[in-house]
């Protein structure tokens, strides 16, 4: 390439990929926004009527599903954080030369299909499956007890499926912390709890932040777990969007819901970023 055109190189590198993302990510979003403001039906075709009324309408109709999705996703985020932090800490600080093997063991289950894993949980938690069945045989559980089709089943499924997304960023953040800092805190008469709370925990916040986003975002939009492990009473907003799009072909309502979900996610992420005070989101 001639020297005076060399400044073009990065743009030539960027253009094909960015064009793909623009055409198949940005433009669909715009199309979805436009469809949400249209009226009509699949048979007669749609016309853009700037029908903003669809937004309050879908929010009112599907408020329970919205609320449920947010509550489930927040519970799942907290659950993965509580379950994942000790593991990430243990692997980072006690893993020794088995660090990589332990990490691999944590993510290995994810080499199988998400759907098959979730179906396996359905099998494990079935009323006469080997967990509930055994507990019932020993008389520990009431014979009528069941887990499937309850919020607990859906939340457990989501927690299981997204746990590695929490553990990996936590591990990366904790692994980076210089052990000398903890030692220094202890030398200065901090108790182990204090050293953890005042040194390790604040320094691992970027991991907490990244992990929470990586869990919360897919969890809030998920419909697979609610579909396989849940019931009519555990329907999440993802189930509604999927049903409206694929079964009822109610495109304007479905698009409006998609937009509200996207907006809700962005607002919550912004608030969370403000509260945690992490700027690491864009730095990674």
């Amino acid at each position: 390439m001639p020297r005076h055109l060399r400044w073009l190189t990065p743009y030539l590198f960027l253009i094909p990929g960015l064009l793909w993302l623009t055409i198949f990510f940005v433009i669909p979003m715009i199309v979805m926004a436009s469809i949400s403001l249209q009226e009509g039906s699949l048979g007669t075709g749609y016309t853009l009527t700037w029908n903003f009324g669809v937004y309050p309408e879908v929010i009112n109709t599907y408020l329970p599903q919205f609320a449920r999705s947010l509550v489930y996703a927040i519970i799942v985020t907290v659950a993965t954080l509580v379950l994942g932090y000790p593991i990430a800490w243990t692997i980072a600080n006690r893993g020794g030369r088995f660090k990589n093997i332990l990490l691999l063991l944590v993510i290995m289950p994810f080499f199988t299909s998400f759907i098959i894993r979730t179906l396996a949980w359905k099998q494990i938690l079935a009323d006469n499956g080997f967990v509930l069945g055994t507990l019932k045989d020993f008389g520990i559980l009431d014979p009528g007890a069941h887990v499937l089709a309850s919020p607990l089943a859906v939340i457990s499924g989501l927690t299981y499926n997204f746990l590695p997304f929490m553990i990996l960023p936590l591990y990366v953040a904790i692994e980076k912390i210089d052990p000398k800092l903890t030692e220094a805190a202890m030398d200065l008469y901090a108790s182990r709890t204090q050293a953890f709370r005042r040194v390790v925990l604040p320094l691992s916040m970027p991991g907490v932040f990244a992990g929470s986003l990586l869990v919360f975002i897919p969890a809030v939009g998920d419909f697979v777990n609610a579909d396989i492990l849940g019931s009519r009473d555990t329907t999440m907003i993802g189930n509604v969007i999927q049903r409206l799009f694929l079964q009822t072909n109610a495109y304007p309502e479905a698009s409006a819901l998609g937009f509200v979900l996207m907006a809700a996610v962005l607002v919550l992420v912004a608030i969370y970023a403000k509260v945690v005070g992490a700027n690491e989101l864009t730095a990674g």
């Binding site: 190189t9 590198f13 979805m32 020794g96 290995m108 199988t112 299909s113 759907i115 299981y160």
Partner: protein
Amino acid sequence: MTASAVSATAAGQQSAELEGQPKKHRTPTGKRLLNASLPVYTALLVIYMFLPIAVMIIFSFNDPQGRQNITWQGFTIQNYFDVWSRPDITGPMLNSLLIALGSTIVATILGTFIGLALTRYQFRGQTPVNLLIYVPMATPEVIMGASLLALWVSVDVARGMPTILIAHVMFCISFVVVTIRARISGFNRSLEEAAMDLGADSLTTFRKVTLPLIFPGILAAAMLSFALSIDDYVITSFVSGQTLTFPLWVYGASRLGMPPEVNVLGTLIFVTAVVAIVAQIWWARRRAKQDRLIVDRPPEFAPVLPRG
């Protein structure tokens, strides 16, 4: 042994010494309990993570009587032979493999170039480029799928293999960029400068120095893309039309009762993935060892060593 492990043992000895003294500074019981419980907890969690996998593998050897493969009926390996004569399962599997292969190749090429541009060049407009790459990763899949369907509906394009492929390339690109970027920012630029100083032109430098150095990153990115693509259910369900991929087929079949052949294919995918990852790690280790040898050995032996 790492520095933290050394300090942990040192702390352990210290607390053991303290125990014999009448005036204890701090009770070590809680600490010892914590030290013992953390590995146990880690082990339990690993077991928990593997529980569904174990169920999947065990029930791939089940010999169910009816449509349901939920209770244990008896051991058989017949399922591993029968699965190949079930075109309703192998067809979707083949579709999934083709889509994963195609989207991996396209996404890896597009993503690698973006990664190179972002790390090797200064240019105007870095912020919008970064935004365009990170926002798809922060978007719930259901929204990506829904908006793509909205696009295809509004321009009246029939859904099928091409629309699935397009969607998979789209969501893989960002992950490729992030993986490649992490790899490129880790290596020493002076190696490239040295090649240029020795008279290599920029293309030769790229081919002989840059590409071999970032190749592990490219490979990791390609493996990630393949894994993301072959497992995708949510986005695919929106843009598939009548085409079935393996996850779509499994999902549909699960409503009627899953045949053990699903477990067979799930097990085979799992085993293949584990073998691929272990091979990649082994290869990366060997390379690292070779690199170390080249540095450690006297210079006259260095050129004899084969380079990976």
